[in-house]
Symmetry: C2
Subunit: 324 residues, 2 copies
């Protein structure tokens, strides 16, 4: 896993993934007490950065493998990213999703042409087991959501864009906060920044109670979350950091930042009001950390990656109502 | 008023206005029955394209004039655009706003450093009279919202970007629908397309009951709306087309498109769900026309300009609730 793989992925996704904008607002700067640059990956195709990793992985396969088909397991954003990338490549796709995933994500994944297989996350079924079995039965190739070199390479292209866009705005040092589940995006950005913006440092943001990465970085050993359910931030809830991603984060990432669910909802409302973008709870953790955890951040400027916008209507309306 | 002024404005706003993205979604294409390209000017600084015209006008002034100060009258988006541009140039700004304008727009205009003077639109006060008097008393330079060459030039830079971005997506002909009030944006885009994308044609979109531009184009003479109040689409409600803008539209624009308020709200909800952007009712009329008036549009692709995103929370939440 290295920068050359990220640069190669950038060439493959060019013209397919969107170069998402870097947004700013003086009102957010005032709240944060420093300049806040928001990388709006919620505006990526399929509504999250996951499209990058999906496209990178599918486009890196040989034709014969791709034609046999692809399988992925995901609470929704990886599902949609892989489904869209597979469809664009003419490859069949099976997506294993928890039955309590947001309805919008399940519906979208189906509409993007994938076969959706639901499993009972709350009841203790493991998506790895369900997905692995179907893959074997049908001869499909599994695209893991983060512990997959070509997925990390695809997510890392976000970091290449951040380096370019932040530099254009006069920012060449400081923290780059990324909402972090298994660490595919965070580790990919880490490698990209190491090569392209060595004075910038990635830091993972997680919701309270699901801060496995922050605790793993603090202790130097992989830590587990006690559960994978019960958070509105469904997009970034994983059991523990990945085997590929964690060593990269250990080497390159700064300390993890932890936000409350209310802070994430408040950040969603501010993104609505000040940036005119729609962010889902899990996708708002980095912005929440930038806005409400300023005492744990150094430097005159901070970059926050809004990672996704696939939020059900009632959750979004509730965030606006609670933080008007 | 010509393309050279637009190109000069593009040089002045470069690095200050944002190059807003051109967004797409297969789900919107399916509803419209053709490709839909959405120019997201709601993501512009201050949440609408008006920042372009404000910056263009303020940056075109000589230093002495600028230092004396600027005045503008606006229901909100022009107000914020001018206020932000004036502040960035160190020029004092007075903004005359109707007292029933959305609270967010009034608050933002004040927060951007402008002095806000409210007037009673519903009670029959004219913003032109109120604004003109203050300008004379204080020696301020009035920046009109649309009948002002440098404002039209600034808005026209949107058209230059549309030509470039649509071409990059393989679209070089078809209708470009713009939400239309006084016609500053629509006429600016018209001139830009004439020069840069001669097979594309601008068309104004307006809400039902406030379709002065559509009726003016149809009859060949400027028509008036019976009232300037009573629409959620406050951003694009004007009495009649401008003296500068209407001749440009007569020469270059296609027939106007008229949408219902419900269609605008429905388009807002779809922009939320499918594009992850926040659009205000007046800013959603063009997208509504593209999605729900397909029988009045020709060609395999259509461009819709989402012109602004400054919407109060309750209006937005209501749109999501009514069109889930």
């Amino acid at each position: 896993m290295n920068i050359d793989m990220i640069r190669a992925a950038a060439l493959r996704i060019r013209g397919h993934a969107r170069v998402t904008p870097m947004l700013t607002s003086p009102f957010l700067d005032e709240i944060a007490g420093r300049r806040v640059l928001v990388k709006a990956e919620n505006l990526q195709h399929t509504g999250s950065f996951k499209f990058r990793g999906g496209w990178s992985a599918v486009s890196a396969m040989d034709d014969a493998t791709r034609k046999r088909g692809i399988i992925a397991y995901s609470s929704g954003n990886h599902a949609q990213g892989v489904a869209a990338a597979a469809a664009a490549h003419g490859a069949p796709a099976v997506i294993v999703m928890p039955e309590n995933a947001p309805k919008l994500k399940i519906d979208n994944t189906r509409a993007l042409g994938a076969e959706v297989v639901l499993y009972d996350r709350a009841g203790g079924e493991s998506r790895e087991e369900v997905g692995g079995k179907i893959a074997e039965d049908r001869g499909l190739t599994l695209i893991r959501p983060y512990d997959e070199p070509q997925v990390i390479a695809g997510q890392g292209t976000t970091g290449l864009e951040i380096a370019t866009q932040a530099t254009a705005l006069g920012v060449t040092s400081g923290d780059v906060i990324a909402c972090c589940g298994g660490g595919g995006l965070t580790s990919g950005i880490a490698l990209a920044l190491e090569a392209e913006a060595p004075n910038m440092r990635v830091r993972p943001a997680e919701p309270e109670g699901f801060d496995d990465t922050a605790r793993s970085l603090a202790t130097g050993h992989k830590q587990r979350n006690p559960t994978e359910t019960g958070s509105l931030c469904d997009a970034i809830i994983t059991r523990e950091p990945g085997d590929l991603t964690f060593p990269i984060l250990q080497r390159l990432a700064g300390p993890g930042l932890v936000v409350t669910e209310d802070e994430a909802l408040h950040a969603m409302s501010l993104a609505f009001k000040r940036l005119k973008i729609v962010v889902e709870p899990g996708g708002a953790c980095a912005l929440a950390a930038a806005l409400f955890n300023g005492d744990k951040i150094e430097g005159d400027a901070v970059v926050a990656v809004c990672t996704g916008g696939n939020v059900d209507t009632d959750v979004f309306a509730d965030a606006l109502k609670r933080f008007p």
